[in-house]
């Protein structure tokens, strides 16, 4: 599903990473390293959000990719339901799935409240709903544990147990160690 060879990315005079080779079908690719080491940039390339400067890559089509970045990528002034309904429309997904996901992530009760009133952890949950809406075959998560409480972390674990390819970037490797089937360490 992901097959990249000699992948490199640089911004003008700064090389972010180079020579990344990957061949993944499913499981979990764990990307670790300190802040500013290029994890986010790699994830953006793997999610088709950024173009690489070098190397060949084979990725799923963009509508098969789910992405959750540093910010939850939802509109703050819309309600949870309005956010997901908009993306359900753009992804050509049944409305029922919106309700199902809100239920699953414990947001059904607050579906008609604006995201700006949500705690950071609830926003992160809603971001996960948005990324999972179209049942992607590749799920790219950048620091997904951000602000999640114990219950939220359990929900995240359940997501990662589902059969698809996951790419997770984190500075806290221990949490995902058991699940990781492949690792990439940035220095």
């Amino acid at each position: 599903m992901i097959r990249v060879h000699g992948l490199g990315k640089r911004f003008d005079d700064r090389r972010v990473f180079a020579g990344v080779d990957l061949d993944l079908a499913d499981g979990l690719l764990l990307v670790t390293g300190p802040n500013g080491s290029g994890k986010t940039t790699l994830l953006r390339v793997l999610a088709r959000l950024a173009a690489p400067s070098a190397g060949t890559l084979e990725l799923p089509p963009r509508e098969r990719i789910g992405y959750l970045g540093h910010s939850p990528n939802v509109y703050r002034e819309l309600t949870a339901l309005e956010n997901l309904t908009l993306f359900a429309r753009l992804y050509r997904v049944e409305r029922e799935r919106v309700g199902m996901l809100l239920e699953r992530f414990g947001l059904w009760e607050v579906r008609n409240e604006r995201v700006s009133t949500f705690s950071r952890g609830m926003q992160q949950r809603l971001g996960l709903c948005r990324a999972l809406l179209h049942d992607p075959s590749l799920l790219v998560l950048d620091e997904p544990t951000n602000a999640l409480d114990v219950q939220g972390l359990e929900l995240l674990d359940a997501v990662l147990d589902e059969p698809r390819l996951h790419v997770v970037a984190t500075h806290d490797a221990t949490r995902f160690d058991a699940r990781a089937t492949e690792r990439l360490v940035f220095a």
């Binding site: 992405y67 990528n73 509109y75 819309l78 908009l86």
Partner: protein, 206 residues
């Protein structure tokens, strides 16, 4: 049909955001009335209609600029381009929806500004109203394209006027001179251009 549906959903979202935030439209309204008031004091008594009309056009272009500067703020602050460009919806639909939303704000501001202009100065003729309507289309088509470029940069609010104003000069010429055919030509050329190139502005990878 899917395309129109996508545009509708996205434009509805933009209007909803404005309805909730109430930032752009009130600012545009206050701005345009303030500008017209300033023009009253800037114009010496007995100035010709043509001069007053010229000032109306400056006011409208700068009012539009104010709205365009805010157009992509929600997308920028909440990283929404990342989420939007991964959906299978055509990227040009994002441009079209945003243009429709900004057009709605601009038209709403003009519904107040034009009668105010008529009352403050020497009245209005139908040709000017038609010219304003046509000019609005070109303004939002070009302004939304450049607005998406400006939010990607560090200078942001500073950058948009620099990109937009030189390109808006023909609109002012067409408007002040009342050349409706020229405004139609401008609208058609640049709407097609912006529609075709918007995806390169918002999406880095194919």
């Amino acid at each position: 049909m899917t395309y129109i549906g996508d545009v509708g959903a996205l434009a509805r979202k933009d209007l909803l955001l404005e309805l909730r935030a109430k930032e752009t439209l009130p600012s545009m309204l206050l701005f345009v009335i303030s500008a017209l008031t300033i023009f009253h004091f800037a114009l010496p008594a007995g100035t010709s209609d043509v001069a007053a009309r010229g000032l109306l056009w400056s006011a409208l272009v700068f009012t539009a600029l104010l709205g365009l500067t805010r157009a992509f703020v929600a997308e920028r602050e909440q990283g929404m381009f990342d989420a939007l460009i991964l959906t299978p919806c055509d990227r040009s639909a994002i441009w079209l929806a945003k243009s429709i939303a900004v057009l709605a704000f601009l038209a709403a501001a003009e519904v107040v500004a034009l009668p105010a202009f008529a009352a403050f100065f020497h009245g209005l003729n139908g040709r000017t109203v038609a010219a304003v309507a046509l000019a609005d289309l070109g303004i939002v088509a070009v302004g939304t394209l450049f607005g998406a470029m400006a939010v990607a940069g560090r200078a942001r609010e500073l950058l948009l006027p620099l990109l937009f104003l030189p390109a808006a000069i023909p609109i002012v010429v067409g408007g002040v001179g009342g050349y409706l055919w020229f405004l139609v030509l401008y609208d058609a050329i640049f709407a097609v251009f912006a529609w075709g190139t918007f995806e390169y502005v918002v999406a880095e990878a194919a």
